[in-house]
């Protein structure tokens, strides 16, 4: 049985080419107080808009999912991308493989789930859908555009 950390069960997935941030992330309050950190962690229910004026100095934003059924982090991620954030956006906590397609579409580009994904399941989840009905934070073209050239 593969354990977390083994190659067969990587503990994280990352869809970026740049170097990962090397400083641990700080809480939103600490980030706003200190003005030095470049990695910040957002808990479910925190107001992400307070971060908007500082996005140009952020390299990593972690959005925590305390329970997989708590969907607030989806809005947090998409709002960050809509505000122009281009750094790493990482989903942490109770992240299930069945959610990662929608998470990618909301702008997440890395995942550090509490329980590692089976790579084959993750690959299947991310490649399953050829089409999407609606636009989100990614560049997939909605069906309503495809239909009309």
């Amino acid at each position: 049985m593969a354990e977390p950390g083994n190659q067969a069960f990587p503990t994280s997935l990352r869809f970026r080419d740049d170097a990962a941030a090397d400083e641990p992330s700080v809480s939103l309050d600490a980030f706003l107080d200190q003005g030095e950190a470049d990695s910040v962690r957002i808990e479910a229910g925190e107001d992400v808009t307070v971060l908007f004026p500082h996005l140009d100095r952020v390299r990593l934003i972690e959005v925590d999912f305390p329970r997989f059924r708590d969907g607030r982090g989806f809005s947090t991620a998409r709002m960050l991308r809509e505000a122009g954030y281009t750094g790493e956006l990482k989903a942490t906590g109770d992240v299930l493989v069945d959610l990662i397609f929608f998470m990618r579409r909301c702008g997440f580009d890395s995942f550090a789930p509490d329980k590692p994904f089976d790579p084959a399941d993750a690959e299947a989840a991310l490649s399953r859908w050829d089409h999407v009905y609606v636009p989100a934070a990614d560049d997939r073209v909605p069906i309503w555009k495809l239909r009309h050239g």
Partner: protein, 544 residues
């Protein structure tokens, strides 16, 4: 009606394979029950008292004969030969095996159907006017907008895990046949002073244990901005709803807590933002969908005469047939409320009969209603007698539309793991008490709605007479409510007084009905009399 193109078909086919994979991982132990539960719920599978219940979506209540036959075939192949039409114009099966569900979904996909987002914390099947496209009083057919909403609300990434369920209704007439203001989000299609079509928007309605009637939050929304506006509403709710108590997470609670004005302000602010993203659908997409809902080729020059010399047929026409917008045509309602039957239940053989009738006499179209009945929307008046005869043979010719025996009831404790009390036997006993057609006709329009627990699936809050089953010290007890309505004058029913046992509630309903007959003024329906005299006019008659 709408037909899938290659994209729609690919979406439902892929969904079947996704769910097949999820079931496999569940059976292999890769998904635990907690993780699997929301996945199956988003595919319409509930675990009930005895087996899995499956809710299949009938988008805005419209289906064709091939779909109805497929629903019958599914009832035979995967269930016990029957199905149950619900208050959201869907159909439910009560005896489904999990391992067979992926194959069942594949069968549905072959006739352009699915069970996507019919339960769980998702945007549910859009409901609409069952007479859409046929009603004389509609501004336009609301169904193209329903289909537009169906597609835009299927798999919205940001709203994958909403705080709770989210129910949408769309109508296009002044008369409300869809209980608009009992929905989380509702649109009435209207025309403004410059002649443009748009939406009057309502938000924050819902039944359940904390009922609220929706507020109007916008007088006029241009149709081209619907996607932006809907996203704004959903984002405000998704971000700010409580997440600590499942009973306080519906949008109605947030709207109530923030107040209509503040909620509206936040929505408008988010709406401005979404408009700036310029992601709304192209007009060509609405035009493409609307073309599917062009009126069927009605024959011209048909007579409006109906031969009513057969009194039984005449009684059925009088009760079940509604005026159609096209001369020579009629809307025929099919009752799924035989006295002594289970409200909304239909056998596979009856589904076949109804499918045949739709194919032969109604341009291949059928509707399911939120009152758990069916409709043949476009029948030539000259064909009504043949339709009626076929319904008589199939046991579907009851003439009780909107009468005291046309009862909405949830499955209750006979099936449901949430229920506190049985609903079906109460509905059956009331229907039997008023079985005499002459007595029902004399009482006139009276909408009785029965829920087996406070979750209110039987819509008791909206009943002219509502009945709520509760658990009282270990035994089933029933509260009586009066004065609710889901029509354009939406009102919430009020509790009349102390509860009753199963036989007692039937007697109490009869006393309320007799009091109405005693004090009604000419032309008054039950709800009119209640609105005139209030609870005080009924209380003594009920409790003595």
């Amino acid at each position: 009606m709408y037909r899938y193109d290659k994209y729609d078909q690919a979406m439902v086919d892929t969904r079947v394979e996704e769910f097949r994979d999820q079931v496999r991982r569940r059976l292999e132990g890769k998904l635990d029950d907690d993780q699997f539960k929301p996945l199956r719920l988003k595919n319409g599978l509930y675990l009930q008292l005895h087996a899995y219940m499956l809710r299949v979506a009938i988008p805005y209540g419209t289906l064709n004969s091939a779909q109805m036959r497929a629903l019958g075939a599914i009832a035979r192949k995967y269930d016990r030969g029957y199905g149950h039409f619900t208050t959201r114009q869907n159909i439910q099966y009560n005896w489904i095996k999990l391992a067979e569900a992926p194959d069942l979904f594949a069968d549905l996909a072959k006739v352009e159907m699915h069970a996507i987002q019919t339960s769980g914390e998702s945007i549910r099947n859009i409901s609409s006017d069952q007479y859409a496209g046929a009603a004389a009083d509609e501004l336009i057919d609301p169904r193209p907008w329903c289909e537009m909403l169906r597609q835009m609300t299927t798999f919205m990434p940001e709203f994958s895990y909403l705080p709770r369920k989210f129910k949408i209704a769309v109508i296009a007439s002044a008369e409300d046949r869809a209980a608009l203001r009992w929905h989380d989000f509702a649109l009435r299609i209207v025309q403004n002073a410059s002649g443009e079509i748009g939406f009057e928007v309502y938000a924050g309605g819902g039944m359940g244990r904390t009922p609220f009637i929706a507020y109007r939050i916008r007088e006029f929304l241009p149709t081209s901005q619907l996607f932006s506006y809907l996203q704004a509403v959903l984002r405000v709710w998704n971000r700010h709803a409580r997440r600590d108590n499942i009973h306080k997470q519906r949008m109605k609670i947030l709207v109530h807590d923030l107040g209509q004005e503040e909620f509206t302000r936040q929505v408008e602010e988010a709406f401005e933002h979404f408009l700036s993203l310029a992601e709304d659908f192209p007009q060509a997409e609405y035009d493409r969908i609307a073309a599917y809902f062009a009126p069927p080729p009605f024959e011209q020059g048909l007579s409006d005469e109906i031969d009513l010399s057969d009194p039984a047929f005449a009684a059925w026409v009088d009760r079940q047939v509604i005026a159609h917008k096209a001369p020579g045509y009629a809307i025929a309602n099919i009752s799924l409320k035989p006295v002594g039957g289970i409200p909304g239940d239909i056998s596979a053989d009856q589904m076949d009969v109804v499918a045949d009738l739709a194919e032969r006499y109604s341009f291949d179209e059928l509707r399911a209603t939120h009152a758990q009945n069916l409709v043949l929307p476009h029948v030539r008046k000259a064909d009504l007698h043949a339709v009626w005869q076929a319904l008589v043979e199939a046991g579907l010719a009851d003439a009780n539309l909107d009468l005291v025996s046309d009862i909405i009831a949830c499955p209750g404790l006979d099936y449901c793991s949430l229920a506190n009390a049985r609903s079906i036997p109460v509905a059956q006993k009331i229907a039997e008490r008023f079985a005499d057609p002459a007595r029902q006709a004399d009482v006139g329009e009276l909408k009785i709605k029965i829920s087996g627990c406070i979750n209110a699936c039987g819509h008791h809050h909206a009943g002219n007479i509502g009945i709520l089953g509760v658990d009282r010290k270990g035994s089933e007890s029933y509260q009586l409510l009066l004065g609710g309505s889901g029509d354009e004058v939406t009102t919430q029913a009020k509790i009349a007084g102390p509860g009753f046992d199963e036989d007692g509630i039937v007697d109490a309903v009869e006393r309320a009905v007799e009091q109405y007959r005693t004090i009604r003024e000419p032309g008054e329906r039950f709800i009119d009399t209640y609105r005139r005299v209030g609870m005080d006019g009924f209380k003594e008659a009920i409790y003595g």
